[in-house]
């Protein structure tokens, strides 16, 4: 057991605000809530039930290899694509830049299981087999590169602008400025984005099943539900956790190596490089293709298969949408508050135990949603918690990492002197948070909120497993229809999910385009 002094060991900050005990307690409770379902489940799986030793099983090695390949493939292509687009839309001027910047959020609103189902279906009309790891990497990159764009664009836009101006005034061109100045500064944000997108990949279920790629997420579920082998499932879950832990460690390492501080929004943001001629066209193409593809995949299906769009489905859309919206808003609120508290604790109390606490609290993101759902069901029965409460708990657990990643990265760019000034003026931690951090971190908070909102609207396994009777959501409907191979009926609710994503993206424009 660590002593209180160790817990409160000082990080980069020299002064710390008063009243941190309450804060630490809150963070501990959040972490406990986040860990409880997982811990309980592993405990049950490993120490209860049959005496057999857990084994990887016949398909285990294939499933691990499949997931590793996907993570590597998607991570690399997502990093390159996301960073390129983040840089172009944040720092360069070319026709359509403003629109394209917002459009980068669109692909996130198209669930990977939907784009896979509609692309497979469309392909099969034209004699094209959409199948295997290559297609999966491409579709997963498309679904997840926006994480990298969002986080890196924030970072390109607000940090090191003066350094960039300086490097430009020294006559350094955009390429060299990018590689020597901007990229090192943005690396933590890029790393955070890649880590997030890779975790989505580890967790993806519908798309990998449809595209026929063996994966840990499917393996865990099958071992658990079909083979009735919770120990094997727990073992595979641990492998998935290990992969995610490595991802997070790499991301942290990157972040530590490039710690810079800057005041968010302190500098007016102007695109620094004006692109002309073929360069402008190339930039336009690079930035326009992914959102276009994300729209076009279901779009092509709608254009060719509109006769199959089921009209009966439109009538149920309103209640479905209302439920999706309500759940997403509630979950976003809960998740943001929890993430903010954890981030603040990380900033003010850098004792190793607390640092780890904040890290493990985000692990819910790494566990397949269906496994998390089981953990919650096992917990929820004896605690007599209503299904909706369990569902919100699940969302919070699952998406804490999403809002936390961005916030942590943003906090690290905020110079400690800001806190110290406020504390020396007698502010408590609530005061510093309210008057200093919140206004300065409006951008990252909004980005986090948007990510969680869109994630919850399209979230599937938790909603599917935990919702109460007669409480279907848009995503649930899309999946049910798509898994019955009725893509036509799935399309109407799917279009609404995309619409929600667009609205959420539009809400973000002012923050991205702040002058």
């Amino acid at each position: 057991m660590r002593t209180a002094a160790q817990l409160e060991a000082c990080g980069p900050l020299q002064a710390r605000p008063a009243g941190r005990q309450g804060l630490i307690a809150a963070a501990a409770v959040i972490s406990l809530l986040a860990l409880l379902p997982l811990f309980n489940l592993f405990w049950q799986a490993l120490f209860n039930g049959s005496a057999s030793t857990p084994a990887l099983g016949v398909d285990g090695a294939d499933q691990i290899r499949g997931t590793l390949l996907l993570v590597l493939g998607e991570g690399l292509s997502g990093a390159v694509l996301g960073t390129a687009i983040g840089w172009l839309t944040a720092m360069c001027r070319f026709p359509g830049r403003r629109w394209l910047r917002v459009a980068q959020l669109l692909p996130m609103a198209v669930p990977a299981y939907l784009s896979s189902a509609s692309l497979i279906d469309w392909g099969s009309h034209h004699g094209l087999r959409i199948h295997g790891i290559g297609w999966t990497i491409a579709l997963m990159t498309l679904a997840n590169y926006s994480y990298v764009v969002l986080l890196s664009t924030e970072s390109f836009g607000i940090s090191g602008l003066r350094l960039l101006e300086a490097s430009r005034s020294l006559g350094v061109g955009p390429w060299r400025s990018f590689f020597r100045v901007a990229l090192p500064i943005a690396l933590p944000a890029v790393g955070a984005g890649v880590a997030l997108s890779a975790m989505e990949v580890v967790n993806e279920l519908g798309a990998v099943r449809l595209l026929g790629v063996p994966s840990l997420s499917a393996g865990i579920l099958d071992r658990w539900q079909i083979d009735g082998d919770p120990k094997g499932a727990a073992l595979l879950s641990l492998v998935a956790l290990a992969i995610v832990a490595v991802l997070v460690a790499v991301e942290r390492r990157l972040r530590q190596r490039s710690r810079r501080w800057s005041l968010a929004g302190s500098s007016a943001q102007q695109p620094l490089w004006v692109l002309q001629g073929w360069r402008a066209w190339l930039a336009l193409l690079v930035c326009a293709l992914p959102p276009l593809a994300a729209l076009l995949i279901p779009g092509l299906w709608v254009i060719e298969g509109w006769q199959n769009l089921s009209v009966g489905a439109f009538r149920e859309l309103l209640p479905l949408a209302a439920r999706s919206l309500g759940l997403a808003l509630a979950a976003t609120g809960i998740t943001l508050v929890a993430a903010l508290l954890l981030a603040v604790v990380r900033r003010w109390c850098s004792g190793p135990a607390l640092q780890q606490l904040s890290f493990v609290a985000g692990l819910g993101y790494a566990v397949p949603g269906s496994v998390l759902a089981l953990g919650l069901i096992v917990l929820g029965g004896p605690l007599a918690l209503g299904p909706l409460l369990l569902l919100l708990w699940g969302y919070g657990d699952r998406f804490l990492a999403v809002s936390k990643q961005g916030l942590d990265a943003a906090f690290e760019r905020l110079p400690p002197s800001v806190d110290e000034a406020a504390i020396s003026l007698g502010q408590s931690w609530q005061g510093v948070l309210q008057r200093v951090h919140l206004p300065l971190l409006r951008g990252p908070l909004l980005v986090g909120a948007l990510l969680v909102f869109v994630d919850v609207v399209k979230e599937l396994p938790l909603t599917l497993s935990l919702r109460p009777f007669d409480f279907d959501t848009l995503a649930v409907r899309v999946f049910q229809y798509a898994s019955d191979e009725r893509v036509g009926a799935a399309m109407a609710p799917a279009l609404l999910i995309m619409l929600f994503g667009l609205i959420a993206a539009a809400a973000l424009i002012p923050s991205l385009e702040r002058r």
Partner: protein, 321 residues
């Protein structure tokens, strides 16, 4: 008399269902009108519903569990999720091989998994049984869905029961040798591939072809017209079935809903929703009538479920991924 009883104890029945058809809701509404019992519905994937019920234990609110495929029914039964009920009506309406001998679950609709052929590429006369799909003449022409498909697992279990493990093992090796394409993950694209001539022959559930034939999309109809149903002798049949849950607080209401859904009049509606066959005969669905009739495999649903694990093992050993 039944009505009076219902009004005195209206109650509610909570259904966990692996089916997702909007027309089901009309049937549930009809049940409510007749009995006064409200039906609350939670639709999901079958395996997930089983797991949910298992985890909820005695706290579960579900009264009726409706599942697709014998393998899952027997899994739920082995997990002790059903309670045995006795009902003269159910015993009359549901043939013996389509229900659990212990009265824990009863079939509601039937589906068949025949062979589907592009006659331009494969002579339909070549195939009289599933065993014929392993003939060397079909090398490179056979397309298959993957091992994860419970429909295929049950088909293999059917062969296993009828022909024994050694023959099934040989047969599976032949199938895998004849299959040249990456395995499909769903039936519909596979049927299109047959219609387009990329595959000559496949095995698929009849309702997928019926759906394509009824599609509002003319291209789909045209492709489906090129696919011919070949009924092997005997044809593998599977079911959608329901059972009253062990945790049910309204087992009486759940049993009545089950009786209602299994009755010939409502059962037809339940089958119609997904182009399935009623429990007896071939129904009045014109698309299905055009497929002709078949001789159903005598293997019981109970046997299919019990041999599932063994079937999956044989498939794995044969390299069916």
């Amino acid at each position: 008399m039944a009505l009076a009883q219902a009004q005195s104890r209206p109650g509610e029945v909570n259904v966990y269902s692996g089916r997702h058809y909007n027309t089901d809701k009309a049937l549930y509404a009809a049940f409510t009108r007749r009995t006064g019992i409200r039906v609350n519905l939670l639709e999901g994937k079958d395996d997930e519903l089983i797991q949910r019920l298992k985890s909820e234990g005695s706290n579960s609110k579900a009264d009726l569990l409706v599942l697709v495929d014998a393998a899952r029914l027997v899994r739920a039964q082995q997990d002790n999720l059903f309670r045995p009920i006795s009902s003269r009506e159910l015993n009359k309406d549901v043939p013996a091989n389509l229900r659990d001998p212990g009265g824990r679950w009863y079939a509601l609709t039937r589906r068949a998994r025949p062979v589907m052929v592009n006659a331009a590429l494969v002579n339909p006369r070549l195939i009289r049984t599933y065993a014929d799909l392993a003939r060397p003449e079909l090398k490179g022409k056979l397309c298959l869905r993957n091992r994860a498909s419970v429909y295929n697992q049950s088909l293999v279990a059917d062969e296993l029961v009828r022909r024994g493990a050694p023959s099934t093992r040989l047969w599976l090796r032949g199938l895998v040798a004849n299959n040249q394409q990456p395995l499909f993950t769903s039936d519909t694209p596979m049927l299109r591939a047959v219609g387009q001539g990329q595959c000559g022959v496949t095995i698929a559930n009849q309702y997928y072809l019926a759906r394509l034939l009824q599609s509002d999309n003319s291209a789909d109809r045209a492709v489906a017209q090129k696919v011919r149903v070949v009924w092997p002798d005997p044809t593998h049949v599977n079911v959608t079935a329901g059972g009253v849950t062990r945790s049910s607080r309204n087992p009486d209401g759940a049993r009545r809903l089950l009786e209602f859904l299994a009755s010939p009049t409502s059962g037809e509606g339940y089958a119609e929703a997904n182009n399935e066959y009623p429990l007896r005969g071939w129904g009045n669905n014109p698309t299905l009538r055009a497929f002709g009739t078949f001789k159903a495999s005598p293997v019981s649903m109970q046997q299919l479920g019990q041999r599932n694990r063994e079937a999956v093992q044989l498939m794995t050993q044969a390299g069916w991924n």
